[in-house]
Symmetry: C2
């Protein structure tokens, strides 16, 4: 969507080879009004799917998931946790994830209490590169018997494989902006 | 506030000695409508302080900070990160924090770009026990020259020291519910 593409051109920048930073509005400082505007497109795309719950992953997905929940008339949001703490309590679904930004493997967990067979889920995250975090969420959803009705991210890096893989698996993936390439600090978006 | 005390009595439970779990609405599954109702009290308490930015910490503080931001007419939210990734980019303020729930020490960081002298901050978190995370945020705010106008948490464990220390340091701390004691699985709230 143009709203997000314009903002990326205005406030996004590139670190090193291909790390795209949108930390002034999406994943360190959060422009909540802007996120709320983005969430309207997510709502319009998925509003007829009977979605009853939003699944995201800590930390940067939570704010976008919160404003999307509001647009859907306050759906419950469940966020997957990135490591086990001594107090997660009880049985969890879990999936191993390779982080693109830290090169480390971590485990994402969701308590079995909060995902059920029959749930119709919308998966939300801020960024999609190799798709590792989202594939972890999809695995957790499948373990629970819930159905993934849709997947939405703010920014997809179209020159990495994550989006392609998730679409080929048959999921309805809505990326609000797809960066096709970066050349000399200029972003080119997929139309 | 009674709204939160009632919800803790209904859905909260105790794990082990004194770990209070409110994971069905506050910090794993999120009841966004309920958080939005809580945020009204935060807004009413701090609305005349000239607050221009909200500072929270990943992950469980983000959803509450998001709905508080909305009540204040969409203030920017900055969330402190709990570990360095290779792409945080540039200079950061940092503070070491001892985790009550994992027994590990971690570093919280905020990019220097997003906190400035002259900022009037409201600090938000979901839980206050020993106060380690909040004291980390206070330290980061002080390093930046920003002023901490107020601190608000959803649940304070009144039988631990964090709230007492932060009040004695002179901060205006609003805890939406203060659990004074737990006996045989029953919560007693401070009035």
């Amino acid at each position: 969507m143009k709203l997000l593409e314009d903002r990326i051109e205005k406030d996004g920048y590139i670190l090193g080879e291909n790390i795209i930073k949108v930390d002034s509005f999406l994943n360190h400082q959060l422009d909540i009004k802007f996120l709320s505007e983005l969430s309207e497109e997510v709502y319009n795309h998925f509003k007829d799917r009977g979605i009853n719950k939003i699944l995201t992953i800590e930390a940067s997905g939570i704010a976008l998931a919160t404003v999307v929940s509001e647009k859907f008339g306050y759906l419950p949001v469940v966020f997957a946790k990135k490591q086990k703490t001594k107090n997660i309590g009880g049985d969890v679904y879990e999936s191993k994830v390779q982080s693109f930004t830290t090169d480390k493997e971590y485990t994402v967990t969701v308590s079995k209490k909060f995902l059920n067979e029959g749930d119709k889920l919308l998966l939300i995250d801020d960024f999609l590169a190799e798709g590792n975090a989202l594939n972890g969420l999809i695995s957790i959803a499948e373990q629970s018997g819930a159905k993934v009705e849709g997947v939405s991210v703010a920014v997809e890096k179209g020159f990495q494989e994550g989006g392609k893989i998730i679409r080929e698996e048959g999921y309805d993936l809505l990326s609000l902006a797809i960066i096709e390439s970066i050349d000399n600090g200029e972003f080119t978006f997929r139309k």
